[in-house]
Amino acid sequence: MSVITYRDALNQALREEMHRDDRVFIMGEEVAVYQGAYKVSKGLLQEFGEMRVVDTPITELGFAGVGVGAAMVGLRPIIEFMTWNFALLAIDQVVNSAAKMLYMSGGQYNMPMVFRGPNGAALQLSAQHSQAWESWLAHIPGLKVVAPGTPYDAKGLLKSAIRDDNPVIVLEGEMLYNTKGEVPENEEVIVPLGKAELKREGEHASIITHGKMVLAALQAADQLGKQGINVDVVDLRTIRPMDVDAITTSVRKTNRAVVLEEGWEICGVGAQVVDYIQRDCFDDLDAPVVRVHQADVPMPYAKNLERAAKPDAAKAIAAVKKVMYLE
């Protein structure tokens, strides 16, 4: 078992899948010669050549559409957005083309493609470069959406996404690329889509989270553990389709839930989680569900303001205490 970075885990996934199936190619800005804006595609150009590792002009809408066209006629594109902030420009292709093609064509044209890139805030990148918008994409039927929070899940989910015959959105994170974790070598690392994972077990409360916030949730769990409070940490891993069973099993056990996410409050992913809980665990709740999320503002630049805006372990701890009726 080796300890590798999230970035390297993604790189391994790309390399392995491109070896496995020569219909797989990667396209995006700076993916080839520059070795990847965040070095996720490092070394791939050398290994697979410029037809399979394709640098594009700055044309998110354009190259997302190129991916759609290629997928329609049998290739398996991986379209990289340098960050998901820029992907807003491509939303017509992601939503109106990729997500809907199978349905509109009466089942004739499926879209075996992946759209991936870093999502959400990094450090002091300011309003236009800090958006976490998984909820926009999770809203759309016809898409699958995943958000790995650890290197193991990054590798496993990306591989599953590439092999899936549907358009899959992979939401990574600049702040995650350097994080480390155990990823086994010499074995196929596949994480199924649509399955959450219980990353920590406890009986007092449930923290349901995904992506970048998984680390914050685990930190919170550690600190709470020292105070004798043991929490379940449910890592959703896949936002759409969401593993509702994993959520409700945990909440039925603990009777209390905190939903922790990176994005904004209104109509965020957390709102959906809360709906599942109130729908299926109504009689099991001892307290209202508490959500922890970004402040309802565009991301500010100043370090202290940004820190105040972001959710973190401390806020998660406070939320757990609130659902436990502790001060």
Binding site: G65, G69, A70, V73, G107, Q108, N110, R163
Partner: protein
């Protein structure tokens, strides 16, 4: 533009086939207008009347393994590509036997067997897709071509710019065909575009380009042949402006004339009806009599009537179809086998 050798050999038969195809499209679209007025077709319905020569001429020189992608004004092109009138009409009527099982409607005709890649609703949205198809062809080392039809308003979109730039940059086998019918919904080209000879937009990409009269199917055919050859043999894209005219409103919901164009202008253009143009050519060459034309007309009308009847009889999709084809249940292994079996 020189006529190709293949044309002269079967010239008469070819022209008759083209005439029949255009006439079929015309009668089909006329019945669509009627069906729409009767409430049998709902939503948006964009008719091809007046533009038949563009699609017919272009598609007539394609191979079965070439690809066609177009806008929401797709009935004519679908018929020209050989898709079944029954299946198209049933789709317009929203029935299970429709070409996409009632899930798409007028704007979204797809047929994998005909390599007809739709039928797209967002102006300009399909142009990058065309570039992607070209990319895949090159990726595989094939010699197929992708023909991409679009309206003249598309050339002002960002998607058009991005798609053509990449097609030219990467030298992809795509033929971009602008069917310039001079008007968006009600905005004349001159009011929307900073240049009026819009084929010159290709200059931005150093892409081969041309402009032709879109009311003469033979002219269109020749021009497209040249562009397709270039794509097939040199893997180089072309931007072709085909100047045409639509006789109806932008869609069934829009005005035919009045606010944005005069009746007089329309009547001038009606004289250059592509069916009349070709028919006249044939008749002047002694290759078609009035009777023969009438017979042809009856024949296509019967086909359209048959399509109508078929559509009427076809049931609506079952409610379960609501949830079908949102996602596929497969991964690359299973799909690879299926794809191989299909192709």
């Amino acid at each position: 533009m020189a006529k190709k050798k293949t044309d002269s050999a079967n010239d008469v038969e070819l022209r008759r086939d083209l005439l029949r195809s255009m006439l079929l499209q015309r009668r089909f679209e006329e019945r669509c207008a009627e069906a729409y007025a009767l409430g049998k077709i709902g939503g948006f319905c964009h008719l091809y009347i007046g533009q038949e020569a563009c699609g017919t001429g272009a598609i007539s020189i394609l191979r079965p393994d070439d690809y066609v992608i177009t806008t929401y004004r797709d009935h004519g092109q679908a018929l020209a590509r050989g898709m079944a009138p029954r299946a198209i009409m049933a789709e317009l009527f929203g029935r299970i036997d429709g070409v996409v099982r009632g899930k798409g409607g007028s704007m979204h005709l797809f047929d994998r067997n005909a390599n007809f890649l739709g039928g797209h609703g967002i102006v300009g949205g399909h142009v990058p897709i065309a570039t992607g198809v070209g990319f895949a062809i090159k990726y595989r080392g094939g010699d197929q071509v992708c023909v991409c039809f679009m309206g003249e308003s598309v050339v002002n979109t960002g998607a058009f710019h991005e798609a053509l730039n990449m097609a030219a940059l990467w030298k992809l086998p795509v033929v971009f065909i602008i069917e310039n019918n001079r008007y968006g919904m009600g905005t004349a080209l001159e009011r929307a575009s900073s240049i009026h000879d819009i084929y010159n937009r290709a200059a931005s990409y150093d892409m081969p380009r041309g402009v032709v009269d879109g009311q003469d199917v033979m002219v269109v055919r020749a021009a497209v042949q040249e562009a397709v050859d270039r794509a097939r043999t040199e893997s180089t894209p072309t931007l072709l402006e085909v100047r045409t005219y639509r006789f109806m409103g932008h869609s069934m919901s829009d005005a035919v004339s009045g606010t944005y164009r005069t009746k007089e202008e329309l009547e001038e253009y009606l004289k250059r009806d592509p069916i009349i143009v070709l028919r006249t050519q044939l008749q002047q060459a002694g290759q078609l009599t009035d009777d023969e034309f009438a017979k042809l007309d009856e024949e296509v009308k019967a086909v359209v009537q048959d399509a109508w009847d078929f559509a009427e009889q076809s049931p609506e999709p079952p409610i379960e179809a609501l949830y079908e084809d949102v996602l596929v249940d497969t991964t690359s292994d299973a799909h690879a086998e299926a794809a191989v079996a299909a192709d």
